[in-house]
């Protein structure tokens, strides 16, 4: 592990023939990947639940608390000014990362779930009338179902669902038919956390926008894997979580077009979101602070900024190709295994492979492979309607990040052989 190989791995945007990234060197950036579990090297294949953190992110958190810690947007003392600069600096990094037009189009929230709830409460709720419709898809995470059920039930509106087929592909003809003059918003998952399907969002956004319908994308499973340009996509809202892109838990972002955010009432009331308060009335602060009541998770926002810096410094095209190779290898290896059935076969798959074994329930599989140091998720993955659609109570899910390798897929396959030994 030399500094040369590391800098080679990091070469960003350098012209010339693409070199395979030095994944072993990049793995050294993640302290937790060096540990063992149950006496085996950790094989972490639960990245759709949360990704691991590189040392630069952990250091940024520690440095913030050791050197800067103060509340933001308040005092005139040096620490508060530095904390504010670090917090707002992180916002600007995230703005550039998703190519939003302005930093104030990025609202810090706790994560994707809170971002979607913010849009449900502040954007949809005041606009919805009886008979209106909100359109989601058959492969949504519960966090992009329940907030819409709450708000449509309250307003006498209806939640409509874009269907999918057995491969885990949305039916676009039916999508077009579901876009009507009653549709107030399309809220769509960009990449499915349980199937790995990457939806054709650019096209779907164009079709909604052609009818004047705003679009929210749930991008929880995307930014840690792929570049996203919110302006090129043309979406109105994009929701994401730092912890699924190598940053801390407890912080995430909502991108919203300024024009829409301006019109929206605050989500929560409190400190930091006001301009002037008397007992009679309150004038709200400007964007984005209108949506950030109370002391935010400052250190985590700073850590989020460090994660985005880390990602931006990598050769992301090369890492995307590497990750796609590992995922394709996993699909190929799992398909070849006796008694293993893949759940969903999306043509455009990224990051996630869901499967079941005929000899064992997903939870037994999860427990047994853990004994071999392999961490996978088992259960319904907060997508119970997807489980119902495929007629399974639960699946095993291996989900990948750029630091995973073909050797780790081999370790999973070996661990699954042990499951067969116990049960078959």
């Amino acid at each position: 592990m030399t500094t040369t190989s590391r800098s080679e791995a990091r070469r960003a945007n350098r012209p010339g023939p693409r070199r395979a990234p030095d994944v072993e060197a990049l793995r050294a950036d993640f302290p937790i990947l060096q540990r063992t579990v149950q006496g085996h090297p950790l094989v972490y294949l639960d990245n759709a639940a949360t990704t691991q953190k590189p040392r630069v992110v952990i250091d940024a958190l520690r440095r913030y608390y050791e050197e800067i810690n103060a509340n933001v947007h308040r005092a005139v003392h040096t620490l508060s000014e530095q904390a504010t600069a670090a917090y707002e600096g992180a916002r600007a990094k995230i703005q550039r990362f998703v190519n939003a037009a302005e930093p104030h189009e990025i609202v810090f929230v706790r994560g994707t779930t809170e971002a979607i709830n913010l849009v449900a409460q502040s954007f949809a709720r005041p606009r919805l009338r009886a008979g209106d419709e909100i359109l989601i898809s058959a492969m949504e995470h519960h966090s992009n179902i329940v907030p819409w059920q709450m708000v449509t039930a309250e307003r006498g509106a209806t939640l409509r669902v874009i269907p999918m087929d057995r491969s885990g592909t949305l039916l676009l003809d039916q999508y077009r038919d579901l876009l009507t003059e009653r549709t107030r918003l399309v809220a769509l998952v960009h990449v499915s956390n349980s199937l790995g399907a990457r939806n054709p969002v650019a096209q779907m956004i164009r079709e909604a926008k052609a009818r004047g319908i705003p679009v929210l994308l749930d991008g929880a499973q995307v930014l840690g894997h792929h570049r996203v340009d919110v302006r090129e996509l043309g979406c109105d809202f994009y929701a994401f979580s730092a912890h699924k892109m190598f940053g801390p838990t407890g912080i995430g972002g909502l991108y919203g077009r300024a024009e829409l955010l301006e019109e929206m009432p605050p989500f929560q009331g409190g400190g930091d979101m006001i301009r002037r308060v008397t007992f009679q009335e309150t004038t709200y602060a400007a964007l984005p602070h209108k949506f950030e009541a109370g002391t935010p998770s400052i250190a985590d926002a700073v850590g989020f900024g460090a994660a985005v810096d880390y990602l931006a410094g990598l050769d992301r095209d090369a890492l995307e190709a590497h990750e796609a190779d590992v995922v394709a290898y996993a699909v190929e290896q799992l398909e070849a295994l006796l008694g293993v059935q893949l759940i969903g076969r999306p043509a455009d798959r990224t990051g996630v492979v869901s499967f079941i074994m005929d000899c064992a329930h997903a939870h037994d599989v999860g427990t047994i492979v853990d004994q071999e140091g392999v961490a996978i998720r088992t259960g319904h993955h907060c997508t119970q309607p997807v489980m119902d659609f495929f007629g399974v109570p639960a699946t095993c899910r291996a989900s990948f990040a750029f630091y995973n390798t073909r050797a780790e897929v081999d370790a999973l396959v070996r661990a699954l052989a042990r499951v067969r030994k116990v049960f078959a």
């Binding site: 939870h363 004994q371 109570p393």
Partner: protein
């Protein structure tokens, strides 16, 4: 390092593969449903209680090996027991999956159910073993009820 064979003992694997009393009795007079939303384990328990005794116990449902084997062995263990005896067994089982059994009388009462002692080393799986027993308690105390381990 925890030991896998302690969890998936032969007896448990066997009851998972060939669950006993996996049927719907025509004459059940107490039923309850239990589910474990995190795992997707679901069980429906059917009892026929006659003169204060469990004359028959059977179940349906889907779940992991631990919950299925637990339901299977529970339906065997409670046959012929009085409601009080079943409640005592519930308590003994519940205690066993969280701490080793020290009382010899309790160990004797548990009998084959001791196979589930291995669950102790796998805290995430304790609720799988407990689900059928919570469902039993609901069937006896509040028939028709739904219980959830979450």
């Amino acid at each position: 390092m925890t030991d896998l064979p302690d969890l998936y003992q032969e007896l448990i694997v066997d009851h998972n593969r060939n669950p006993r009393n996996f049927r719907v009795p025509a004459d059940a007079n107490r039923t309850a449903e239990g589910d474990n939303p995190l795992c997707g384990d679901r069980i429906k328990l059917f009892l026929r209680v006659q003169d204060g005794r469990i004359a028959d116990a059977a179940f349906q449902g889907s779940g992991c090996a631990i919950s299925k084997a637990s339901a299977s062995m529970m339906t065997q263990a409670v046959q012929g027991k009085t409601e009080d005896e079943a409640e005592r067994l519930f308590k003994a089982f519940h205690a066993m999956v969280t701490a080793p059994v020290t009382n010899p009388a309790e160990a004797a009462a548990l009998g084959k159910l001791a196979a589930f002692g291995g669950v102790r080393a796998f805290p995430a799986r304790v609720k799988c073993a407990n689900l059928p027993w919570h469902t039993l308690r609901a069937a006896l105390q509040a028939p028709g009820d739904r219980v959830s381990t979450e």
